[in-house]
Amino acid sequence: MTTATFTTGRGTGTGRVRLAHGEDWLSVCDRALLTPGRGVAVLLPDGDQAAVFTDRAGRVYAIGNRDPFTGAYVLSRGLLGSAGGRPFVASPLLKQRFDLATGVCLDDEGAAVPVFAVRAD
């Protein structure tokens, strides 16, 4: 798990989405499977879960799927939005927002989720 996110390209919908996992890049899915403004959940080899999103401009982000406020693995099902140009996801349970680039909770500075590096060819 790394703490920075870097995204490439604003691909047109072909190619694969990959997620940094340890030394490797884990192949997640075809880019076409991502709906702008929504997320998908990814099962990691160690049993953990990540949430991968794409925004309207085609940028891809990945954070941990576990909502730290409830313990449920649901962040991938939240709504994506942007505030001051920064993308966030609002947890579908109690609606706390998490910055997709840093993982920091915008409504409670004490909370954060991990961020994964992603690549979309």
């Binding site: 929504r38 959940a41 990814v42 409830t70 313990g71």
Partner: protein, 876 residues
Amino acid sequence: MPEPTFDPSATTAAAREATRNAHAHSAVPTIVVVGHGMVGQRFLEALADRGLTPAAGAARVVVLCEEPRPAYDRVRLTSYFAGQSPEDLSLVEADFMDRHGIELHLGDPATGVDRAGRTVTARSGAVFAYDTLVLATGSYPFVPPVPGKGARGCFVYRTIEDLLAIEEYAKGAATGAVVGGGLLGLEAAGALKGLGLATHVVEFAPRLMPVQVDEGGGAALLRTVQDLGLTVHTGVATQEVTVGGDGAVTGMALSDGSSLAVDLVVFSAGVRPRDQLARECGLAVGERGGIVVDEECRTSDPAVFAIGECALAADGRVYGLVAPGYEMARAAAEVIAGGRSAFTGADLSTKLKLLGVDVASFGDAHGSAEGALDVVYSDARAGVYKKLVIGRDGTLLGGVLVGDADQYGTLRPMTGAVLPVAPEQLVLPAGSGGGPVALGPSALPDEAVICSCHNVTKGAICEHTALPEVKKCTKAGTGCGSCLKVIGQLMPPPADAGLCGCFPYSRSELYEIVRTLEVTSFAELLDSHGREEARGGDGCEVCKPTVGSVIASLAPTVGASGYVLDGEQAALQDTNDHFLANLQRNGSYSVVPRIPGGEITPEKLIVIGEVARDFGLYTKITGGQRIDLFGARVDQLPLIWTRLVDAGFESGHAYGKSLRTVKSCVGRTWCRYGVQDSVRMAIGLELRYRGLRSPHKLKSAVSGCARECAEARGKDFGIIATAQGWNLYVGGNGGATPRHADLLAQDLSDAELVRLIDRFLMFYIRTADRLERTSAWLERIDGGLEHVRDVVVHDSLGLCEELERLMADHVAGYRDEWAETINDPDRLRRFVTFVNAPDAPDPSVRFVPERDQIKPDLELLAGPVLAVRTLEGTAS
């Protein structure tokens, strides 16, 4: 801070030693507080506000607390039974003591005070020297001296520990009794009932709550309390608690010769000030108890103060309410800090929700002033009683409100002023000729006290422009909360009525834009009508579902897809709409098939049972006359719905801001009183409006006669049968702010009824704000009910034809979302947990057994459960 007048010659050797020690540690004076209850904590906060703390280098502060936990909200004690944990009730911020350097000794009560030596001894043996001593020891529950009062199964109701003990004992009990029918007694009785006990209330006075309400109010209260299933015995005293061979309670003998078999007894026969410590050290106490204090809250020893329920205030009263205690805390802190302040008395106004019944009394509620006149409205059947006491000169002196205390917030601050309208108009119910006149807070003078817990005036509140600011700067609204509604009405409407940071328009304005420009895409709307800085962005969690809902409401009219998950629409929906199911706390979903009117065939019931069994779902009958199946994983939803759709079920839209259920009573077909076929009408209406997207959820009900078994007046649109046809009521609400629906039109034919509802709903959808139920909408819009009636009955805006057409479009365009989903492989693709492992079930969704069914494995969801951010954020 008074100069420490320390005189070593008058002390014992030990105390001298201790005192010297204490002073050796700090050059600053020491304040010792005995008792860390509600008032003790408020006193500490008042010290901190004045910089009189160790952290500020101004004093040493030591607190002796008898209970095992820091101060908590005793007023809300009973909410423990409603699921609040002791931590939720805490009044002390986690780092409060550390931040201010205050020494708090939990579970270590003071056992003696040496006034000459200025020391306090604690049970642990520790001795603390003081320069100033503050007693905040509160009260103890009075237990009448009846034989058997100490038996196993006898309790009092004062601390969290009391509640834990009652809860534990109640597990083995079936029947309980509360001795005392006052405010606390009724609260305790409600708690026993909630614990599943058949509950008796025994009150010595001839009526319930004798202190707060008068005879008429007592009668209304009695009626309502009995309707809730409590057995009330008034005018009788408890003579003995009978005890079995094992030392446990078996019953009670009453003064009228009768007896009650009970397993558990709670004494709630009043409280007495805890003044023993003060008595023992020779401070003056009142004849009937209470530590005598002057207006500065100083006792007969100038170095000792007493505040809260243990004090006998300068006006000769012992106050058993928290607000006067807070006033005393503030006054004492101010005086100790070297300022001037006085507590000269407080008013005893209270507003409570007892067992779900609103009860309020304020000012001279018993009309004891000479020449006072009562204006009374009483409806014992509805359990409503309202009395205003009016002085000779027309001023409002006080009042009692039972069953409906909405006006408390505006009436109490008017006490002492001449009412701007005739008092009768204020007590008469809605719908009766002439009344009621809603007296807005704008009618109040600036000096009117709006928040009585914190003594904050209208003037002070109006210096601020938003509620959070008011709370922070004045503390108003942070006590009992009964003033919040009025504070809200005093706040100016926000300068920019925009929906969120992305749109400068309200929901209804966006509706008009979408409708007239026939916008079918969120991105298009954001880029053309969003705020400059938000254009090109992604929107947010507020505007996306709102715009999604507006487009869905207008879909057939503007030419958008009727299916809410098509194309860009999919990205706008909250997770519930996205999966056409309701997200639960562990990430699983619930499934609610539509059961129109609550009518269901045995075959269909069996299908639901089989589906629930085969998928291992938790099954519960809902409050909306249908069946909810909980615990489905995302990937199971299509399989479950394939079976349900095959059996003829449709989506119940439990997830959408849309029509929920149209409840119905059984009606004329079976019921001996019924005058119309309520089931037929309910089914017809539910099928007509199913799937209609709206600003908030919509609920309805149809009752077959005036007995109203379907609770239609609690619904957004409710229908009650008459001998001539149907009466239509609108704007009802259950939930957090219940409201009875208002009569819109009477004796309608079937066709007239449907036409009016069509217009009403479309007018609401067009003009309401996001997440605004019809009740709040009706109260907000200019002209209220009258205006709505003009528009939808008399067509004053010439809109009706269009409203009817919009509804006709909806009805014609309706298609079941689940049937459409399972028949389309593209749409089904989203129903996997993991995009990279479509066949893997979600390992984080697991269950444990409970009562022969499943429940979420909460152990698995370790991590703190935090408070809900906003109610309005919830999905339905």
